[in-house]
């Protein structure tokens, strides 16, 4: 049975990267290209989360990991 997909990523409320995107204008492009579009289903964070895998904080939607410095 086909289900209608939401146009916004349903994981945005729990995604740890999403709040960062709210902070920086430069990251809006990620939001508009992935989180707030149907393309969220191609987001590597979304896919890993759907598979039940751990999603690193520094993993970008395109699958690239940005080394986050230790605090």
């Amino acid at each position: 049975m086909a289900e209608a997909s939401p146009s916004k990523c349903p994981h945005s409320g729990t995604c740890r990267l999403y709040p960062r995107m709210k902070l920086q204008a430069l990251l809006n492009v990620w939001k508009s290209m992935y989180c707030d579009a149907d393309a969220y289903q191609t987001c590597e964070r979304f896919k890993r989360s759907e598979r039940g895998e751990r999603v690193a904080d520094d993993l970008l939607p395109n699958g690239v990991s940005v080394a986050e410095p230790r605090k």
């Binding site: 430069l26 492009v29 290209m33 039940g52 895998e53």
Partner: protein
């Protein structure tokens, strides 16, 4: 054991499941709220703008993915955006804390309705029949069960509320699979326990 009537409890849970996302923009999830709140103490996560190294890495990755035209003229966050971000973060924390406190308050309200019966280890007559010989060992048993639940929740990326109530209602495949597994294993375990303890 004191509990609300099933129809009232179900209606309240359903109401929360529908209204919570409208108010917060997030799906209902107890373990997620708990984890995020604890994370504040564990790592004291700061808003990203003051993390220059992370910001530079993000800029490089964004430029590599979308080209320089996707970047705004400046990558330095304005004082206003930092303040707004800090306020968003504070609101987020307060909302999560209120959600968890609400669960405790709800339980207390139900107990208040019943006149605060004395605390007991028992979960009902059937429980007493099966576990009557355990005595005080039932405490560690509960603790061990709690640890197993925590491990399962971590493995599944969510708990019974996040997957079973919100995720299933939204038709998320991961939640449907998780709910099927934990309900199925729960039923199987209960049947096995029944056979072993009878």
């Amino acid at each position: 054991v004191t509990a609300l009537p099933w129809w009232l409890a179900g209606t309240l849970v359903g109401t929360v499941a529908v209204t919570y996302p409208l108010v917060t923009g997030r799906l209902v999830g107890v373990s997620g709220n708990y984890e995020q709140l604890l994370d504040l103490f564990r790592r004291r996560r700061a808003p990203a703008p003051d993390d220059e190294q992370m910001l530079r890495a993000m800029v490089a990755a964004t430029e590599a993915q979308f080209g320089q035209q996707a970047l705004p003229p400046t990558v330095s966050p304005s004082a206003a955006s930092v303040k707004e971000a800090a306020e968003d973060s504070a609101d987020d924390t307060i909302g999560r804390a209120l959600f968890l406190l609400g669960i405790v308050a709800g339980g207390l309200l139900v107990q208040l309705r019943a006149g605060f019966p004395a605390a007991a280890w028992s979960l009902g007559n059937e429980f007493d029949v099966r576990f009557h010989g355990l005595g005080l060992a039932v405490g560690p048993l509960f603790a061990g069960c709690g640890v197993l639940i925590g491990v399962g929740t971590r493995l599944a990326g969510g708990c019974t509320s996040g997957h079973g109530i919100s995720g299933v209602a939204c038709g998320q495949r991961g939640s449907l699979l998780s709910a099927a597994i934990f309900w199925g294993v729960g039923l199987l375990t209960a049947q096995l326990a029944y056979l072993v303890l009878t």
